[in-house]
Symmetry: C2
Subunit: 358 residues, 2 copies
């Protein structure tokens, strides 16, 4: 059997240090389960800007296209925020999503039982929370043309972006969401602002059309403002949420925070080909970078998600998830998820603990 | 002194029944404080569609333009959702906002101490919460052209909307927000998605320019996804938030729900002229309409907000706010804010209780 090729893109901020732990864990399960995996690394984001003057070098993109799966740390940092837009770290992330057509972003918001108290919500509101946000990732207002800032005849400037979706884009993300719902609790809530935005009126229509193909799944619709509210009021009413790029960005961060432990949540960005990019839901956290403080568990769980969804190694994935559960049960915590009575450990020690539990 | 003219627009769903209580309270304080107020009512939303075939009849708009302040109940209901877009109730609301240039939407999220337990968040996270969201209300993607759904050459449909802001629009809402911050805790957080959307890059620039005029106010910037998260994580970090129409819609609903009692929150939509429209943050709640279950307190507090901001009757406003505080202290609750041990009362009884407390 040919070795599976994994490209690692550590990126910026805490990216490199959590990636290091992710790689160690991947090496450990590869040895244990006798998996044939070939790892390669490349530059993205601010790290790539510093080294090569652009956030997504051609060599990185080429390597990504050759691989079976990609692991991403995080991108971004204030030192690059004043560069012209095309050279900002985020453009590397947006570029790779778009170039590889990673249109389906799966962001689970899952409450880890031993971490229940880390949530700012009352225990009864979030206990057992397990929802999945399916976010469209390569269209919508993130990529819509025309866009820019222009000077009007009056002399004042005007900025503009275009929120755009065509039927085929809505359909393909819709199918991913309906199928996810079918595998899970069979409830899909499509989030839009159809009472105001025509583009999301089309979104709602297409979702309704698709529903006929998934008779077992119960489809509902909710306006985005109400969804933002319902996530706080009663998050357990949701099973799978499907929405566009911008609303998905907002709601998935809100949902992640409901669990109180965003440092625990992995995500997947998938192409139709099966190629997938896996990354933590949290960002590059420049304020704690290089201090051995970052929580590597979202990265480690991203490795598990990759093994399951792109590399078809479900046992190895399950072993990692079990190991993470074990270290939590042992009371080991990085600072972000610690409570009174826990032993606080660093990034490396947490990685080692997971490896030991494996 | 000439009588102040107040136009009441009850609208749909629970609108009429909460408006009735709002009007009774207004009549009571008018008598008590010897205020000269002339009330008139008109149709808007679904009620106007049913009666006149359109959600914002010309007569309503004319009456609104003649008045010193407007009280709005709520608009919308599923029975109108299948009508062509121009005839939907929401268009009445969007139309009046736009026609009267009510560009500054003030949405406080305030925790009422006796209702602290209604929040789904832990008491220590929300105790004393008092933040104000300043939302731009007549521009952005809500009103941007071009917009619509078209059929592409390929035969598939595409929907599109335009997110657009010009400098002068950003400036005028920025001034309102800086001034509000100056009167309050002197902290202003501007929310955008400047790392992705050019239009919000301009927004950020203009806010930075304005900051020079308000040296006492500390201006910070936050991406909208992070703001959605921080509202859940630590809402008390915020004093005033300023943002565009769409993000403001989402974040203000999320923030309102943090308090657990959205049935308590009023809002104001102000024009440069001083004209203002006052309405509850909650919607038309068709599911409980006509059942004497709705909480009229957000409507009643909207009356207070109107008395203070548009009619310059601060004592009357304070009296209403005190009366509301009193009924809560007495343990009176409508169903939406009730807990064990409270006496649950209906819409009318709650209105009467406030009048009695006055
Ligand atoms: C960094 C930024 C461009 C990105 C996004 O908005 O998509 C991030 O917030 C995310 O959600 O992955
Ligand atoms: C009813 C709807 C058009 C409206 C909006 O989106 O502005 C409402 O959600 C609000 O926030 O007042």
């Amino acid at each position: 059997m040919q070795a599976k090729r994994v490209l690692t893109l550590a990126g910026d901020g805490i990216g490199p240090e959590i990636m290091q732990q992710g790689i160690r864990v991947l090496e450990t399960v590869a040895a244990k389960f006798n998996l044939s995996i070939k790892m390669e690394s490349a530059l993205i984001g601010g790290a790539a800007v510093d080294a090569e003057g652009q956030p997504l070098p051609a060599s990185t993109l080429a390597a990504a296209k050759e691989s079976d799966a990609i692991l991403l740390g995080a991108v971004g940092g204030t030192q690059w925020d004043t560069l012209p837009r095309p050279q900002r770290p985020e453009q590397g992330l947006l570029g790779i999503r778009s170039q590889l057509e990673l249109f389906a972003n799966l962001r689970p918001a899952l409450l880890f039982e031993p971490l229940a108290s880390a949530s700012t919500l009352k225990p009864e509101v979030v206990a057992g929370l397990d929802l999945l946000i399916v976010r469209e990732l390569t269209g919508g207002i993130y990529f819509g043309q025309p866009r820019g800032v222009e000077t009007l005849d009056s002399g004042e400037r005007e900025g503009f972006n275009t929120y755009r979706y065509r039927e085929s884009e809505i359909k393909r993300i819709g199918h991913v969401a309906f199928q996810a719902a079918q595998r899970r609790g069979k409830k899909l809530c499509s989030v839009d602002k159809a009472n105001v935005l025509e583009v999301t009126g089309l979104w709602r229509e297409v979702m309704n059309e698709l529903a006929a193909e998934y008779p077992e799944v119960e489809l509902t619709h909710m306006y985005v403002d109400n969804a933002a509210m319902q996530l706080v009021r009663a998050p357990k009413q949701f099973d799978v949420i499907v929405t566009g790029n911008m609303f998905g960005d907002i709601l998935s961060d809100e949902a992640a925070m409901l669990t109180g432990s965003i440092g625990m949540l992995p995500s997947a960005s998938l192409a139709a080909s099966g190629l997938g990019m896996y990354e933590p839901c949290h960002g590059s956290a420049p304020d704690i970078a290089g201090q051995d403080k970052a929580n590597p568990l979202a990265m480690i769980l991203s490795v598990a998600m990759m093994l399951r969804h792109s590399l078809q190694y479900p046992e190895a994935a399950a072993a990692i998830e079990q190991a993470v559960a074990d270290v939590l049960t042992q009371g080991l915590r990085t600072a972000d998820i610690a409570h009174e009575g826990n032993s606080i450990i660093g990034t490396q020690a947490m990685g080692e603990a997971v490896i030991k539990a494996l």
